[in-house]
Symmetry: C2
Subunit: 717 residues, 2 copies
């Protein structure tokens, strides 16, 4: 126990090396001055104790630990499990608190006791394995949980509340996560990939887990990461890239110890480890010479291999598989389908409570651009919808939020509404592959929030968030690397934080989440104007995703990026490639006809009302017009502008907004850590250059093609 | 001497491993059956002896060696130096020939002696250090040379002649190279470069010189390469990439032994080694902290360094420098110009007879595509023409043949006509960076021949070949790698061979050179129809460059390739980049206005008549129209076609021609080595696919932009 607590205590990285993100010491001040009682017996309760001790060590409070609330010492903050302690082996009580204990008034003890009893009574229903309740009365704040993880989350809720957690009396507030599984996928390679590097689509340096073929070995960094994730609610991490190369394949077998080491570091923060595996694992790891999911020898191999995984990592989360996609092996090689493939692994995991995340990102990446009948947007639905009902209970079909690939703007994937009898997880991309690669400010929570609130069956129906909550939860590709700011761009930390928070509660407003993140991260210094900092960050970040959309690909058309690295503009870059990503711009118009009437029929994959709204150019939302329709440049948008003038206007406007961001960030020069300020300034300089490049290329491209001048006479090149 | 001859004899690679290119054993048959006398004393004469001995070993002839022609044994082939032997240390005569000597008729001895005397008398003027004379009379063939290298070249001329060298009597024919220096630049890296690989723009596997940071160590391969080069006339090789990275920089100093080892292998074939050096060498190799060419310490460093080079490699050729170009360091950093930079190195090399090849490939590779006044085509002239007369005698300014960068079609560089007081070398690219990357058949000699015959001052004036011959000769980037066929595509061997032959004699017709190459390489088997082989190869290769031009970028516009790797089409790939490579296509027209009247003024860099011919859209040759002019799609070419219809027609035609190539190659299935046939078949399959892709992308691009349908109603996508 002491070793565990020491590990936790030592996990804050040296501030000169690694930025504390949303857990700076200052965020713990309100807790650190309290007299705290921690009640309960579990590893995660040890974590809670260690966390509050670190705070009190710094700010002068005190901590008691008791396995139960039976013998309540004086406290003004109580964190307690509601359940009875395990009947066996109650550990010896730890030594009482030091001299400070004598200063506590006897009334406080009685108040706390009463408050705890009242709160417990009020909660009534079960809090679940991760829920908690917070209440305050008579000067005592109480956090209650039925299970240890809930207590940990309750502690981090208190951190978020800060002084507000210790103000006027308030009745019991219950918090339960909307999603049972809140997961991050790391696209980290163990070996440095010759093209993709250490982290595929990583924009924040190397991996915090791996380096040059071996574990990176920085245990403090991984623990610090686990704290950050727990503090925003993440409870599952897949530790290697979904494109599983030779070395990475062996994590499942001979290099399982490397995975177990990460599991040991993440476990104290209630995070389970998942592993991306190759479907060809039996073949490439010395098992049977086939990976055919219906072959008994293959089933045996997976059963035995999985048994060894759980023997080593009893709380292992499960497997993540990208199969028959972009060159990865899969069941198609054996004439089987995705259900056969996913169920094979699910069967092996079922005895241990593990799950398979099976990605629905399947399409033909060797499409002939000349063939306008094939539509990549259709692919996931065409592959997976017919399989609904055939997946085992512990299969989670992981669906990218849009039908293409994490563009700045896409419609919601129709797969999300197409598989009522399947557990679906919705996948986001926190790493900014197509949204500025952490060189551009692009706060993504407004985009995710739109998606989560989208109602595929119409305004009265369930939302995307509901589907995920009832199914496999949310998953996102991590944006973290060994960069000192974790995410390259310091403001990109907000995306990671917001993803976790939206998993917990998808109804949170993006601006409210940003407020939380600002308060925690910048722990506003009272010497300066806290409102200026908060207001300026909102001005820079709130609308930054829409700003990015304005100066990049217009009206939902997508994929006007440089092939390969996906940074910067190249309007025709993907136009004649096998990737299925086209805009079909010609001298008369632009856009992809995906209607049933005259196009690829993709609109028919949606239930009403969207199947109708998207089908008609009259009712299709402006921002998705070119995703669903090929229209003339003179087509009038609902906004009142023509398509071509909209392109010009938004591109000029987007750059002006970036210029404003730069000016506003200047104002904060003395309000934030100089290192943060310098890094953001450097990135903003590049963002402005890049935004101008986008503006000028996109405008020049469409001007040369359409021949239509800007209505305001601006330079178009 | 024995060791040297053994080395030569052992240098033919195992035929199952490495293709013999244009020196198969069969090519030596006519020589191998002779009774041969080799007269003269020099390392290169040893090479001649070893070569003919290898042939006679195989085909039953015999060889005598004598330091002079004084004591003439019976022979029907005499290879002799005209000059007196060195006065000192005449080596002991080697043992006489074996039993075969007795069978020679006494008359033959007398005839040979008389023939030799006559030939010597007829030659009259000096043959020079590399020239030779061939004569045949009375059944004796005589090759004479003033200097050893000439004898070696005379021997390879005899190989070319084959039986024709031993037919009817003919008078003396004198051969002298047009160019004194006939050079290949290897863009081989010592280390594997993370982006460019072992050989930059190499399409034939790894380097024959280097592997993974060390010498490759295959001495037999390098010797076999030297033979091939000598057989086509190359006499200088630069052994490392002009982009000099960290490891490669050290070849000049601590790793000089690696260079000396290559020099030792190339020397027996009269090939001098050159080295690409970084202008920053003093700084990066531990010399003075500056590379300022006017700093005395820098001059001293280069003098001392160069002295060490010559102490180790007495016949070292000199330095090759890419300075202030595409990120390479140069004199600009110190406020000096290219003459200052080149003269610095020239001064260090002068005492030893070495030369500096200083590349004129200098331009702004960070150009703003929005700025239409900057013209990359102007850059070399603008940088170098003003420096004419300022370079030392042993500086060779190395000018790419065109003003851009080895495109399929460019005008001749105006620099070639702009520096009368400077020694210029003209640079070609044998490696097919922009001409199909040795996956496409593209016989380049017709293109080079056009360039060499081009007369910048008008039809009565000197040609490009004349300028090079009077100056620094010709240089080309090698297309060779450790591939078993040397060049990836077996038919690409013809480009290397033809480059050497055009260096020797730029007036040779490309088809005649191809005939030589076919006869040597395929040594037509008399059992089958030799005419079919020859005719078919001509049908495939003669026009293959123009075929390639037809299905790729039209009318001289260039650079419609995928950025980075430069393979395959991407019409807008370079359009909005910093590389200065634009076509300015819009809905109305295409092309770059480089006129003085309304464009960048590039036409003014030419002397009359070309300054006028290129200036006018009326007189500009069709094939360069879009290089010099921006014209409407409906513009009528001299050919009678419009620009847009020309684009469509040539692209359809080019693909049809590739289809014909494929059919023709099929006919040769049983006439050539099965391994060669299989490799070429594989490449043709890819060429056809790629040509179709070019056709469809280019046609679709211009159709979408212009809106003009094909006059013949073909599918344009």
């Amino acid at each position: 126990m002491r070793r565990h607590r020491d590990q936790v205590r030592m996990s804050t990285p040296d501030p000169t090396d690694v930025h504390p993100a949303w857990l700076p010491d200052e965020a713990w001040r309100a807790i650190g001055v309290r007299r705290i009682l921690v009640c309960g017996e579990a590893t995660l309760v040890d974590t809670v104790q260690a966390e509050v001790e670190r705070a009190t060590d710094r700010y002068g409070g005190a901590v008691w630990r008791s396995p139960t609330d039976a013998d309540l010492p004086p406290a003004d903050l109580v964190l307690a499990l509601t359940g009875a302690p395990p009947p066996d082996s109650p550990p010896a009580p730890e030594p009482g608190p030091p001299e400070t204990s004598g200063t506590l008034a006897a009334t406080a003890v009685a108040t706390a006791k009463a408050q705890l009893d009242t709160a417990t009574a009020q909660v009534g229903e079960s809090l679940g394995v991760e829920g908690f309740a917070v209440a305050r009365h008579g000067g005592v704040t109480v956090v209650l949980a039925d299970a240890p993880a809930g207590l940990l989350y309750g502690l981090f809720e208190l951190v978020r509340l800060g002084e507000a957690g210790f103000g006027p009396t308030h009745p019991v507030r219950v918090h339960r996560p909307a999603m049972a599984r809140r997961m991050l996928d790391h696209w980290d390679n163990v070996d440095v990939h010759p093209v993709m590097g250490q982290v595929e689509r990583g924009y924040a340096g190397g991996s915090i887990f791996w380096r040059d073929g071996r574990p990176r070995g920085d245990r403090a960094r991984v623990t610090a990461y686990a704290r950050l994730l727990a503090a925003c609610g993440i409870n599952a991490v897949s530790v290697n890239n979904v494109n599983v190369h030779a070395t990475e394949a062996r994590l499942l077998t001979e290099r399982l110890d490397d995975v177990a080491e990460l599991a040991d570091l993440l476990r104290p923060y209630a995070i389970r480890v998942h592993l991306a595996v190759t479907f060809a694992a039996p073949v490439v790891l010395g098992g049977p010479p086939t990976a055919d999911p219906l072959d008994p020898a293959v089933r045996d191999w997976w059963a035995e291999t999985t048994a060894r995984v759980y023997a080593r990592i009893p709380d292992f989360g499960g497997y993540l598989v990208k199969a028959d996609s972009e060159g990865q092996p899969g069941p198609f090689s054996y004439g089987r389908d995705h259900a056969d493939g996913a169920n094979l692994l699910a069967e092996a995991l079922a005895p241990y409570g593990g799950v398979v995340h099976w990605r629905a990102f399947v399409y033909n990446h060797r499409q002939d651009w000349r063939d306008r009948s094939t539509d990549r947007a259709r692919a996931a639905y065409d592959h997976f919808a017919p399989l609904d009902g055939r997946f085992r209970d512990n299969v989670i079909v992981q669906v990218k939020h849009g039908p293409m690939d994490f563009q700045t703007r896409e419609p919601v994937s129709p797969v999300i509404a197409a598989m009522p009898c399947t557990r679906l997880a919705v996948e986001f991309q926190v790493t900014q592959e197509y949204t500025g690669q952490q060189r551009h400010v692009c706060y993504l929570a407004p985009w995710w929030s739109e998606i989560l609130r989208f109602a595929p069956w119409g305004d009265d129906g369930r939302t995307v968030a509901d589907v995920a909550a009832d199914g496999g939860g949310l998953v996102a590709v991590s944006n973290v690397g060994d960069d000192r700011f974790w995410t390259g761009h310091p403001l990109a930390q907000a995306n990671l934080y917001a993803f976790g928070r939206l998993c917990w509660n998808p109804r949170l407003g993006p601006q409210a989440v940003l407020d939380e993140w600002i308060d925690l991260t910048f722990a506003p210094d009272t010497r300066v104007d806290p409102d200026l900092l908060r207001r300026t960050l909102h001005e820079i970040m709130d609308d930054s995703w829409r700003t990015y959309e304005r100066y990049t690909a217009p009206l939902g058309v997508g994929f006007m990026v440089r092939p390969g690295h996906h940074y910067g503009p190249d309007v025709d870059g993907y136009e004649y490639t096998p990737w299925g990503t086209y805009h079909f711009a010609d001298r008369d118009g632009v856009g992809v006809d995906r209607t049933r009437a005259t196009g690829t029929g993709f609109t028919g994959q949606y239930p009403p009302p969207w199947s109708e709204r998207y089908e008609s150019v009259e009712t299709c939302p402006d921002e998705l017009l070119l995703f669903f329709h090929h229209v003339p440049y003179g087509h009038l948008l609902h906004s009142g502008s023509t398509v071509i003038q909209h392109i010009y206007d938004t591109h000029f406007e987007g750059v002006r907004e970036v210029e404003a961001m730069c000016r506003r960030w200047e104002w904060l020069a003395r309000l934030v850590d100089p290192a943060v300020h310098a890094r953001v300034t450097e990135r903003l300089t590049e963002q402005l250059r890049s935004a101008q490049e986008w503006r000028d290329q996109v405008n020049a491209y469409f001007h040369r093609k359409s021949g239509i001048p800007d209505a305001h006479g601006r330079m178009l090149h």
